[in-house]
Every structure is written in C-alpha cells, then in structure tokens.
Amino acid sequence: MRRRTLLHALAATVPLLPLTRVRLAAQVRAFTPETVAVLRDVAATVLPVSLGADKVSLIVDRFLVWGRDYEEGIALAHGYGDPKLVTSGPSPVPDYVAQLAAIDAAARGRGGRFATLPLETRRTILSDALAAAKVTDLPGRPTGRHVVADLMAFYFRSSEANDLAYRARIGRQLCRTLELTTRRPAPMA
C-alpha cells in the first residue's frame, strides 16, 4: 500500500486522531520484507548486471545496514567559509519504504512485478519517480530524497565503482602505501 494511501485509510477509519499521531503511526521505521524484495528487484535494474547477482545482493545488504545505522540529529560536516550548524534529519527509511511501495504499485499497474517488466517500462517508472522527487542528478552520497538515487549513489560513489569506471586499481580513500600512489594504477584484471 502506498504510504499516502495508507495515511488516507487511517485518517478515514480514525477520524478523531490528531494528524501528527496518524503520521507517526503510519511511519514504518524499518524496511519490511515486502519492500526489501522490491528493493532487490530495483537493485537488479539500477546496479550493473556485470557485477553479478551475488555482488548486487551484497550491495543491497550493505545499503540496508546503512539505513539501519543512520543516526538522526547528528551535526553534518561544517566546513570553512560560512559555517552553519545543520544536523541529520529523520531517518529516510520510512520514505524509502513508501517510495518502494509506490514503485511496486506503479509496476503492478503496468502489468506485474517490477522485475518482470520490460526494461524501458522499468526505466519509465523509475524516471517518473525520480522526477516526482525532484532528483535531477546523482547525489554525492545517499541523502534521503529518493531510495533509487540513494542506492545508486551508495554504489556508484564508492571506491570500488571508481576503480571499475577507470578499469584501474586506484583504491580511492582506501588505506594504501604512499609509494603505491606514485605509480600509474595497475589495470583491472
């Protein structure tokens, strides 16, 4: 059920409940088995097939851990220049759950489970979802705006993805010897 639909249903059945309490009740604080299944279907589309299914599954597992370990109210990086205190917002997981439910609903509206749809149909569903969330480019890291962009950022912004893009063992931000960095990176096998 789409989150908004769920809210609507709750509001209809419990009309005297204050809206804020309804919202709290509606929020799913963790990924549900159903949404994890959708996430894995989405991952199989948005992450490189060339990685292999096991690797894609592992990336999803790590992304789930990322969501689990997210902390609210932590000061974000405040650099130099015109520093402002900004803290991490609410966990994105409830929004992710709703977004995945929406993707699932959109897929079923087009004829079936997301993973079974033609590639261009899947592309359209995801493109529309990202456009609705006003995601225009790949974020530098997961930001909570949309689960698809965040999953892609989670992987494609990684050191491993950088190596694969350049087909070289660069090892960005991994502990390395200084001497190793003085040489042209070795090509990937």
């Binding site: 589309t45 490189p48 060339s50 130099y80 892609m152 960005r172 931000q173 003085t182």
Partner: protein, 529 residues
C-alpha cells in the same frame, strides 16, 4: 569562587596553545601551566576510523560536538571550538611566507612591515617544521633559501601529480610538492600516512593535530587542562595595568564562576576569539577593552582572497589517487617593485569535475546499471584539474571584529561580528589581480590543448588572521613582535591575531613559528626551576 593558580595561564587550546605549552614546559620545567579552553576535549583517537567512515557515507562532521551552539560569530570561518581548534581538521599545509611579506611597506610602499626580520622568522620556521614534522622539499626558487632542511622528505607526488606537474610547468612556473605536517613514518606517538585521503580526519594520526600534544602534556603532568570552560573576562590588577585573573565558567556549572590567577597570561584563541576576549574585557579604566589603547584590537582583520578554476587537459590521470595532496608554485611570491603589485601562490590538485557518475545522459534519459558505467567511462578520457591561487590582499583599519549586541551567548556576552574590508591600494588593484590569475590559468590550460571550464572567486577570506597586530609603535599596534601587549606587561597574544598582513599562502606554519618565538621570550620572564 573557585580559584586556580599557575605560573602561566593560556586561554585557548588550538595549535598555537599546544606549541607554546610544549615549548614552555621544556624550556622551564616545573613551571605550572594551565590551559583553559571553551570547547571539549576530543581525545578518542581510537574512534577516528569510525567517525571517518560515517563522515564519508552519512556526511556527518567527523569531530563530534566540536562546537558550542551559542558561541558563534558572524563572518567567522569555522565553528570549531574544541581542544585542538581548527587544527583538528586542517589539511596540514605548511607553506612558508616569503621575505616580501615582512617588508611590504619598505619594498612596495603598501600595507605595513612586520616588526621582525626575515632571518629571525626563518629560524623559527625551521623550529616549527621540526615541531610539526613537516615533509617537504627544497623550493624550486633560489630566493626561498633555507637554513636547514625539512625534517622529512616531501610527501611523494602521486602519479597524477607527476603528470600534472609536467603539464603545469609548461607554463613557465616551477612547482613543488606542497609541504605537509604529515608523518611518512611513525613519529611522536602518531602513525604514518597511508593515504586515507581524508586529512580532515586522519585515522592514523599521520597529519598533525594538537590533541596529541595536549594528551602528551597532560600525561606528563606538564599542563593542567580545563576544557569546556569559557573565559569571559580578563581582570586587571586594582593598582597596576597588569592582568590579575581570567574569569570563566564551566559548561556544567553555569552559576559558578571560575577564576584563574597567574603570573602571566597568554591569549591563544585564534584570530576571532582573541580580539573578542580583549574587547569583552573592557572596564572603567579601559573602556575600549584591554590592550586597546591604540584602538586597534579587532582591526586590520586579514586573510586571503582566492580565485579557483576547473581546467580540462589532454593528459590522462586517475582520480582518487591522492586527492588532498597538491602542487605549489611560489613564482608569484615575488613581485618586481617597478611592476604593478600582484602576489599569490598557485596550487594544483587532481579533480573529477565532469568525470563523475551521473543519473541521466545529455538527453535526460535515466541511466541504469551498466549504462552508468558506459556513460562514465566515455567521460574519463583526459583530466580535470583544480587550480587555486591565494591572493595577497591587505586590510584597512575598518576590517573589523566588533561586538555584536544583537547576538549574545547564554551568559549575555555579545558575540563577534567579523567584517573584512580591504585597504585602498588593494581595492584599486583587486580586479586586475584577479584578471592576472585568470590569464595565468588560461595560459596553463593552453599548454595541453586544455581549456578553463569554470572559474570562481571565493566569497570569504581564507586563512584569516589579524585583529591584534604586532608592531613597534604602541599607537599603531596592539603588541610587539613577541606578542606582548603594549599596555599590559604580563599579557601576550600569540599566533594568528598578531599578523599585520596575511601573506599569499596558508598561514598555520607562520602562526606556529611566531608562537615558538614568543615562547622563547616568555620563557625568559619565567624563573628557572
């Protein structure tokens, strides 16, 4: 009121404080030194790797709670207030200024000369480089003479930087590896660099940060550190113009003032909070603040204007090898006296602009899976390069830190407001200086069939300093070249605030060198054990 007595009371716990305390403790064993710092101690080195990882994937600040929410300034450069100060998360750049910085007035008829000679400062640069274990190499320019080598060889250039050096030097400029306060091998309780490439938090401690020094001094019982204690006032002796006490308050005991009494007081609170404390300490005898008979406390606030560019070139690099290391050219540290004045450093970094993964292609089509790699790989040919220059700009007397009555902390103290203003010669030449830099960037790009993709001018002054400038004349300066205030014989200001001008490259090494020189002078006033 709880009273704490010591021979020396240092207010502030940043890099200048650490260097001063360590040297005084070594020169005068047995001297009691109390350091009072408003922020907390972040002595959890063992957790740095975790904080670093979370910073990378969650965007969290890696130095948790290194600020005080109601202790902020308008126009300051960083909100960090903790034991270690801004040097907790500095990059470790340890560039020297050049002789011209100390002789602007006599050479060019602009700004002000510093009240010490280059040869004297150079001696203390050597000491500062040893204290920070700087890794560097001899300058490509003969004018940058040194009386001693760096304690470590330069941080090796990555393959990328070797390629970029070959490219950049086609412009006629000569480049060196940036000198860095970074261990190549374990040193002084800190580990060796292993290129985590996140120098804002270094999991091995290879990049120097003052928390190590403070921990060592505490363990050796050479200092007493009172953290989370904000000094709000310096109190003068009833009869003499000397400082009798510093009064503060601990964060957990807001209703109980703490008094620090000492033979000698050193304000080591950086360019912002040092003049702020002096202004806050106004009293009936010194209504404009203490150490301020010149009226110059909080004036001549200085720093660097900067211009940055992204350039694309044909040479191939592999982004991610060593993002934080860079090249520096000191070509434009010198300016002929018969030419229009322009001084700046020139810095070169590897870069990824235009060579990163993206969500949609040029037609706006969402990229999926291996399509992202295909699109990305098609844009990895050649290189993007980041260029930056720090321009030598000079403050006017109206470049000020003032007390902002509209913003007060929990105790009702007005917070600082920093507003930078250039002097008339700087204002007159700034557009031409920036054009000179853009022309240089274009020339560098052309050397490899490249082009400047974008440029921007910094909207703040980097590496800020000033506010308690040194000088020989009490009418035109706050302190002498050792940081001793003209008005109060037992009150010193050290480090960044004492600079009359900010040079044209990173300032930390200079702050440390001046502080170590101050330490020698302060030690002379202290009895031997």
């Amino acid at each position: 009121m709880p009273t704490h007595e010591s021979d020396v009371c240092i207010i502030g716990g940043g890099i200048s404080s650490a260097m001063l305390a360590r040297k005084l403790a070594n020169l005068r064993p047995g001297t009691t030194i109390t350091i009072v710092e408003a922020g907390r101690s972040i002595f959890d080195f063992e957790k740095r790797a975790v904080y670093r990882d979370r910073a990378l994937v969650y965007g969290e600040h890696p130095w948790r709670n290194d600020y005080r929410e109601d202790q902020m300034a308008q126009g300051f450069i960083s909100m960090t207030m903790a034991v270690g100060g801004l040097a907790l998360h500095w990059g470790g750049a340890c560039n020297r200024f050049s002789e011209e910085d100390l002789r602007l007035k006599s050479m060019y008829g602009i700004a002000a000369d510093w009240a010490l000679s280059w040869d004297e400062l150079e001696r203390y640069y050597v000491e500062a480089e040893r204290a920070l274990n700087v890794a560097g190499e001899p300058s490509a320019y003969a004018e940058d003479r040194r009386s001693a080598p760096y304690p470590q060889p330069a941080v090796p250039l990555s393959y990328n930087l070797q390629v970029l050096k070959g490219w950049a030097e086609q412009s006629g400029l000569k480049f060196n590896a940036l000198p860095l306060a970074r261990n190549l091998t374990p040193f002084d309780g800190r580990g060796a660099c292993c290129v985590y490439d996140t120098c804002d938090i270094c999991p091995t401690g290879a990049r120097y940060s003052p928390d190590f020094t403070f921990r060592q001094l505490i363990e050796r019982k050479q200092i007493v550190l009172h953290d989370r204690t904000l000094v709000r006032r310096l109190v003068l002796d009833d009869r003499r113009p000397t400082v009798a006490a510093a009064q503060g308050v601990h964060q957990d005991r807001p209703g109980e003032a703490q008094e620090y009494r000492a033979r000698l007081f050193v304000v080591a609170s950086g360019y912002c909070w040092s003049p702020h404390l002096l202004l806050l300490s106004a009293n009936t005898r010194f209504p404009n603040g203490i150490a301020n008979s010149s009226g110059l406390v909080g004036r001549y606030m200085t720093g660097h204007a900067f211009v940055e560019a992204r350039v694309t070139i044909d040479e191939q690099t592999w982004p991610g090898q060593h993002r934080v290391h860079s090249l520096i050219s000191r070509e434009h540290f010198r300016c002929p006296t018969d030419k229009p004045f322009v001084r700046h450093d020139t810095r070169v970094w590897e870069d990824t602009t235009g060579r990163e993964p993206r969500l949609r292609d040029d037609q706006g089509r969402l990229l999926l899976g291996d399509e992202v790699f295909d699109d990305w790989r098609a844009r990895t040919k050649g290189s993007s390069v980041r260029l930056r220059t720090y321009l030598d700009v000079h403050p006017s007397a109206d470049s000020r830190l003032t007390l902002n009555q509209a913003s007060k902390n929990r105790y009702g103290d007005p917070m600082p407001r920093v507003e930078h203003r250039f002097d008339a010669p700087t204002t007159a030449r700034l557009a031409a200086n920036k054009q000179h830099v853009r022309d240089l960037f274009s020339r560098m790009a052309r050397a490899s069939n490249g082009k400047v993709v974008s440029t921007f001018d910094g909207d703040y002054l980097d590496h800020p300093a000033g506010g308690c400038r040194m000088g020989t004349d009490p009418a035109t300066s706050v302190c002498d070249s050792y940081g001793r205030t003209h008005d109060h014989e037992n009150l010193y200001v050290v480090g960044a605030p004492t600079l009359p001008t900010g040079g044209c490259t990173n300032g930390t090494l200079t702050f440390v060198a001046l502080t170590l020189r101050s330490a020698d002078r302060i030690a002379q006033t202290l009895p031997r054990a």
